[in-house]
């Protein structure tokens, strides 16, 4: 495998985490959790449009919109699940505005690049990998449909 290719926003997020000590990384994850936007109204009334991420221990639902060649991730997770909210928020912020091709090129091990293994545990991080895999699948489906 060559050097992992990260788009600017994702690389910035990774660097933000790696600059901190392990305990502070948790607090940064909490900042991300707090930044996860509320569901837009068109989804709030239609939870059936969102896909459940079963790899996460807490109920998290997400969907992807591909609009004019740019990807948006929309996710919802309860307040009682800040770790899951944080993961969703990182991906939503890092992916926002990328093209489908750029999104599909995000390394699958991006969740492992954030230095959270020890503070959060690898088991919990697998939830984020599950989200990323589902985002990519949806991007694939939705950009095929548009083509």
């Amino acid at each position: 495998m060559g050097e992992a290719k990260l788009t600017e926003a994702l690389a910035e997020i990774r660097d933000e985490f790696l600059e901190l000590g392990e305990q502070d990384r948790l607090l940064l994850l909490l900042d991300f959790a707090n930044e996860l936007p509320e569901l837009p109204e068109r989804y709030a009334d239609h939870p059936d449009l969102l896909e459940r991420v079963v790899e996460c221990q807490s109920p998290v639902f997400l969907t992807v919109e591909v609009d004019d060649g740019s990807v948006t991730v929309i996710a919802s997770a309860p307040r009682e699940a800040p770790t899951t909210r944080g993961f969703a928020s990182i991906l939503a912020q890092g992916i926002h505005g990328l093209s489908p091709a750029e999104t599909l090129e995000i390394p699958n091990d991006f969740p492992q690049m954030l230095g959270l293994g020890r503070a959060v545990s690898p088991l919990r991080l697998s939830g984020m990998s599950g989200m990323l895999a589902r985002i990519k699948r949806q991007v694939r489906e939705k950009s095929d449909a548009a083509a």
Partner: protein, 302 residues
């Protein structure tokens, strides 16, 4: 130094060890009691940071109670270092609470018990009840002074069962506390939980299926003793003097059931098989039953 027990909650008086539970009212009144340390232990590693009971310290099951390399708990040195760092003294009263109806809180209480920490209690109803009652939370760090907690050898014989203990246990009661889907062998993980790597699905032969949730009310508090007797004695057939092993997937939900059987119903010999299904379901050559039937107990292997 220990703190007085919660003698004011009517429901507790029916339990075998009423001193092992405190109510949210009691905790509210004792927040500042010297000798009391409140511990939050959650499934979600960040939940504590969003706001916790004033003064509470956090103990994470995964990153702090488990050894980072071996699949095991920390040893005596590790536990002493953890307790000292958290500001917990050997004779402190510890009240543990957490999310998910106290699964991880019960798990932490069980691990504390492996090290013989004497006075460790659960907050009935856990974190959800405290929040639902609109009680105070804070993000302020507790700032407890470090203590000098002694190094105590972990006792793996009394409250804990290993795989070989289960093989030797056949003929005695086993309680499977997982969901019916996991028990039957339709799946290896709890519904809506991630795959944690068991190669076979089903249950340990002869185990009774009693999902952990049958012990709690809708608000996450433990059911009154009469109802617990119905679930575990009448339905599952447990009797005083039984030697019981409980298991689930990784030992957290079965810690909850262990707490019920041992502390609330007063069964003396109850062990938690923490290897649980993630070990048994991947172990070579151990017997497994699929479907709703318990299956006959094989000959015990020694």
């Amino acid at each position: 130094m220990t703190v007085e027990v919660d003698a004011g909650t009517e429901k507790f008086t029916g339990y075998a060890n009423p001193n092992r539970l405190v109510s949210t009212d009691w905790l509210q009144e004792h927040l500042d009691s010297p000798g009391l340390v409140i511990v939050e232990s959650d499934e979600d590693v960040l939940l504590y940071e969003t706001g916790h009971i004033p003064g509470a310290v956090k103990v994470d099951w995964h990153t702090e109670l488990n050894d980072p390399v071996t699949r095991d708990y920390v040893d005596g040195d590790g536990f002493a270092a953890l307790m000292s760092r958290k500001g917990i003294a050997r004779d402190d009263t510890v009240v543990i609470y957490g999310d998910k109806s106290n699964w991880w809180a019960a798990y932490a209480l069980w691990v504390f018990s492996l090290f013989g920490h004497k006075d460790v209690r659960l907050l009935d109803g856990g974190r959800d009840k405290w929040i639902a009652e609109d009680r105070e939370t804070t993000t302020e760090a507790p700032g407890r002074a470090a203590t000098d907690y002694p190094v105590v050898t972990r006792d793996d014989a009394t409250l804990r069962a290993f795989r070989d203990d289960v093989l030797a246990h056949f003929g005695n009661p086993l309680i499977d506390v997982r969901s019916p889907e996991e028990y039957r062998g339709d799946r290896t993980t709890a519904p809506a939980y991630p795959e944690e790597g068991a190669l076979r699905a089903g249950h340990i032969p002869s185990a009774a299926s009693v999902p952990w949730g049958r012990a709690v009310a809708d608000d996450g508090t433990f059911l009154p003793v009469a109802e617990l007797e119905g679930v575990y004695r009448s339905d599952a057939g447990l009797r005083d003097g039984d030697d019981v092993i409980a298991y689930c997937r990784i030992g957290e939900r079965s810690s909850h059931t262990w707490f019920v059987l041992h502390h609330l119903l007063g069964l003396e010999h109850v062990r938690n098989y923490d290897g649980s299904w993630t070990e048994w379901g991947s172990s070579v050559g151990v017997p497994i039953v699929v479907g709703d039937d318990r299956g006959a107990a094989p000959e015990p292997r020694s």
